[in-house]
């Protein structure tokens, strides 16, 4: 243990503790900006500098360790002046149009500057001008970037996508795309983790909210909107709503107030995915075991990563479309028939915790229902918030409304799709049934739950042992594929979610400075599953109905047409064999 004094308060901390953490223990708050614990401890912004007695230089509190007897002053005249000047320098390079910035009110730089009572700017404004292509789902504005380097770190160290890097040298250093000139020419997976780690508004998704409003205002269009499992865990966060307040029914009420005609639950098509993917797996497992392992395909960030980095594994991706895309295909066929409506007049939108979904719905081949895109528009949870706010709607004043039949709900299995391990667990609940004709204990596959990056489990079905793995975060996916490629691990079925923690931690979710939200949101999905009376996808009456009335059985010809896709129908920019790009 080490004894230190911080702002006159004595505290004892273990050896190796940073000044920042020691200060926290002493009840002294030190402002930080570039710092993200465990990910970015590089002392770049110099906002957390403190004065240490005996030294003339100031030191970053975030990455320097305390020493026995150290006396630290966080608010000495020099510490205050230097911290303020550093923030003013950052502001001089920052395009600070707060009034028109998506991160206004949730911006770490704004908060630091406000907290330090900075009201004048002594330095000449000198922000960079580059803005990336506004048509791509992920947009970077150089003028707002404060070079905290978090995007580089999360892209390199968590996702192993290595898209962002430091470019140029000296005072012209900025963040750019590695091995390409433009983002849309890069291997970017569109996971969006750089957005949720950006302290300012330098990175954001393409805002498509106006396109939804245009469709709503178009009298020719019938607008349906699906809500992804993970969105229900987070949509109320920016409104400051409690879990009890931010229900699906309240969100439905809000969307109806906005003018959406039908509000559906993506949990339904998650159940549908289970029927198709589970059947596909069982078929391969029993008939074509040389085609195993099977990889899940619900996560478009993972599909993009697999195609650009591990193209040899593309044939192992399940052909089942993601729940978003299955929903779109069903709406513009089955549901259009129910409505007796021309499918071309249906506008199919979604709210997703995800940026890559914007790309997925724009894949040209995703038009199986009627020739139009199966899903016309994908909004992120953050866009949903901005849309509601822009219409001056206070959700707390809106009454709860039930979602629309026949896709008003899914099973608990479909619901846990939003968290890492959820797809695998849901798939096995039904695969067990499809293989044996009887239901397993719904919690039999609980070993794949939890926030670990790489989980393994073995299950017994029909006396055979199944080896499965669940990874979240593309860096873990990469490690798994490398080990698999080296022959070190063998699995039959692998679930991959690009974002750490799964969709609950998705790149389209509300941003919270330095908080790993997936761990806080996932339990909400599991809690609902536990109390649900319906815990198996195959028992969802809407699922039973659609197969009975329309699709026939899983993997039927119609099911193949509407609910499956060819992952080779489009290409990542750097896929070796054909350099084409899908522009979302």
């Amino acid at each position: 243990m080490v004894n230190v004094t911080i702002d006159g308060r004595q505290v004892q901390v273990p050896e190796g503790t940073t000044i920042l953490d020691a200060a926290g223990k002493a009840g002294v708050r030190i402002p930080t900006l570039c710092y993200w614990k465990g990910l970015n401890e590089i002392g770049a912004c110099r906002v957390c500098v403190v004065e240490v007695e005996g030294y003339h230089k100031l030191f970053a509190a975030c990455n320097n360790k305390v020493q026995e007897g150290m006396v630290v002053h966080t608010n000495s005249p020099r510490a205050r002046r230097d911290r303020r000047l550093n923030v003013e320098m950052i502001l001089s390079e920052h395009e600070g149009d707060c009034a028109t910035c998506v991160r206004s009110g949730n911006c770490s730089l704004q908060k630091v500057a406000n907290d330090l009572n900075i009201t004048v700017q002594p330095y000449k404004k000198n922000a960079q001008k580059d803005k990336s292509d506004p048509r791509f789902p992920l947009i970077r504005d150089s003028g707002k970037c404060i070079k905290c380097m978090r995007c580089i770190q999360v892209c390199d160290r968590i996702q192993n996508a290595c898209v962002w890097d430091v470019i140029n040298t000296g005072s012209r250093v900025t963040v750019g795309v590695e091995h390409a000139y433009r983002l849309d020419q890069s291997d970017c997976t569109l996971c969006g983790q750089c957005i949720t780690h950006c302290p300012v508004g330098a990175l954001q998704e393409r805002d498509d909210t106006e396109r939804l409003m245009e469709a709503i205002q178009d009298p020719e269009k019938t607008v349906m909107l699906q809500i992804a499992p993970a969105v229900r865990t987070s949509w109320g966060e920016y409104f400051g709503m409690s879990r009890e307040q931010a229900t699906m029914e309240r969100l439905c009420g809000v969307l109806k107030r906005i003018g959406v005609d039908y509000v559906f639950d993506t949990d339904f098509s998650a159940d549908l995915t289970i029927m198709e993917e589970g059947s596909e797996f069982l078929k391969k497992w029993t008939e074509k075991s040389d085609e195993l392992p099977l990889f899940t395909s619900c996560c478009p960030g993972w599909i993009r990563y697999c195609k650009s980095r591990w193209p040899a594994y593309v044939p192992h991706l399940s052909t089942a479309k993601s729940p978003q895309q299955m929903f779109g295909a069903v709406v513009k066929s089955y549901f259009a028939e129910i409505l007796k409506e021309d499918p071309h007049r249906l506008f199919s939108a979604s709210v997703m915790p995800c940026v890559a979904k914007k790309h997925e719905c724009a894949i040209p081949a995703m038009n199986d229902a009627c020739g139009d895109p199966d899903v016309d528009l994908a909004l992120t949870t953050r866009e949903l918030f901005r849309l509601i706010r822009s219409l001056n709607i206070d959700p707390l004043l809106i009454e709860e409304v039930l979602l629309d039949a026949p896709f008003a709900f899914g099973s608990g299995a479909g619901n846990i799709f939003g968290a890492t391990g959820g797809v695998m667990e849901a798939a096995f609940r039904s695969a067990y049934f499809l293989a044996t004709g009887g239901n397993p204990d719904p919690d039999a596959f609980r070993d794949v739950r939890g926030m670990d990056g790489w989980k393994e489990a073995t299950f017994q079905i029909l006396g055979k042992t199944l080896r499965v793995a669940v990874v979240n975060g593309l860096g873990n996916a990469d490690r798994l594929l490398r080990a698999m490629d080296d022959g070190k691990v063998h699995y039959d079925f692998v679930e991959v979610m690009a974002c750490p923690g799964g969709c609950v931690g998705g790149g389209g979710q509300p941003v919270h400075e330095q908080r790993f939200m997936a761990a806080e949101r996932a339990p909400m999905l599991y809690a609902r599953d536990q109390t649900d009376t319906l815990r198996f996808s195959h028992e969802n009456p809407s699922i039973q109905a659609i197969y009975q009335d329309y699709l026939g059985e899983p993997l039927s010809e119609l099911a193949e047409k509407l609910l499956h896709t060819d992952h080779e129908s489009w290409h990542m920019p750097k896929e070796a064999w054909r350099p084409e790009t899908v522009f979302g």
Partner: protein, 610 residues
Amino acid sequence: MSRIRLFTENQAQQTVEDLYKDIERRISAAQPGLCPVDLAATFLHICRSQSCGKCVPCRIGLGQLEGLIDSVFEGSATLDTIKLIEETAESIYETADCAIGSEAARMVLKGLRGFRDDYEEHILHHRCTAMQNQPVPCVYQCPTHVDVPGYLALVHAGRYADAVRLIRKDNPFTSVCGLICEHPCESRCRRTLVDNPINIRGLKRYAVEHAGVVHAAECMEKTGKRVAVIGGGPSGLTVAYYLSLMGHEVTVFEQRDKLGGMLRYGIPAYRLPREVLDEEIDVLKETGFKVQTNYRISSSEEMKDLQKRFDATYISLGAHTGRTVGIEGEDAKGVVPAVKMFRGIGDGFTPDFHGLRVVVIGGGNVAMDAARTAVRCGAGSVTVAYRRRKNDMTAQKEEIEGAVEDGVRILDLTAPVRINKNEEGHAVSLLVRPQIPGEIRQGRPQPRGMEGQDQEIPCDRIIVAVGQGVDSDVFGEFGIPLDRGKIAAIDTSEILSQPGVFAGGDCVTGPATVIRAIAAGKVAAANIDEYLGYHHEIQVDVDIPPIGLRENDPCGRVEMKMRPPQERIQDMDLMECGMTAEEAKQESGRCLHCDHFGYGIFKGGRIAKW
């Protein structure tokens, strides 16, 4: 009334002189990988401030040039701007009245020719081709990428054995390099920005000498793969050491009596004592590689046979044949190539030069070694004849100074013309011609003889140290591609036309430094391992002490001391003295720890394994 006055510097000027020194040091330690266009603009800015303002091209033109280069950065330039920059610079060069303007313009022109790609990249793509990939200068500058800040921290903490183990992760020759490494690690040391580079080599020596016996690392599981290493010098032994650690079965074939290559048959014992070398080689041999000495590959058939018996081969012959000057009388008795003399010494035959007058021809490190060895072999006088200026010598400055202290006379601008012999065919004198330094080409002035001024240097022995070649004929016959006698291996140490055959060290680069030979061995070891179908990783479980806060006030660098000349020239014992504990503590404490402070903490501060 005073008519004239003495010039005295005012305080402002004195401060400026200090600042010049600061910027000189800063430039000398500048990290590679900076944007060349940015630097061109920056240098031009300095040049502008030097203009007296009299003439148009310099006063106005340089400013306009800088503006044009700035427009390249700002994104307003087009490819036509490059042409305007070039024309403007040419015009300034041609019309400026004095060197302040014309030389500034010439720098811009040089840059345009040297890095036009970079200008174009900025204009077309608004970015720079330069990449900052060297966060920790010493680690990057060391060809083997030894974790320098890591072991300096260990030395500072008194953990010498751990320091040695950490160094051995990347470089098995810790003792050798502690004594004779050319220490490229010091060349860009960031401490130079404050005062002077850290004495890294001296601290390595201190660690080694205070570590006690540090055994080789544990070998990994046996693979059953067999690797032949041809040549037991630093490069070959490095390969043997790392591949043995990785579990491969290695046999080293050495044509001489003992292992060590140039370390034994080239470096004098007063710089590298034989017992130090032997101990180091003994540690490497703990990994279990086999050694066959007095084994020379003398035909391509033997090479074929070797290739059959082994899964991979590493060629590290060294460069052991002495080049000749090409003058009349070089065949005289008493004329000996330096390599031959050192080879004899390596095998225990020390020449007796008592009372003899010795002349050494050459200006490199080998020439200095030869001259200083001759002094220690009792020579009555030792003279070095070198055709360029002393400043142009390729030998290290401290070696030249040390030789002079040892009593060696250096005759620079003195080109050998002829060796005169007596009736018995023995050399009696060296005819030399004084030189005048001429036009500068590739950084060095071309010397030109002054006719009619030839002088005779009477002498009894002439040692020729003008370069070495590679004895590679047999390998050429076998089918190894050669490049002017050197083995043509690529930077992965592979030989493209010969799968499974690798090469490195002096036989590939020509005579170079021990650390470059070791680096080649390290690269080859990794790539041979891959070639054999493995991916063994070399790492070490040494935890680096936490880096404390530091102020970095200027503090003098501890230099190595030498035994007094009159004492050291009496024997072949080590002439350099190690640091004291107090010196080592202070010197290791000067490290700025670029692994923790600066870019190192963000990117590549520590390479834990390879």
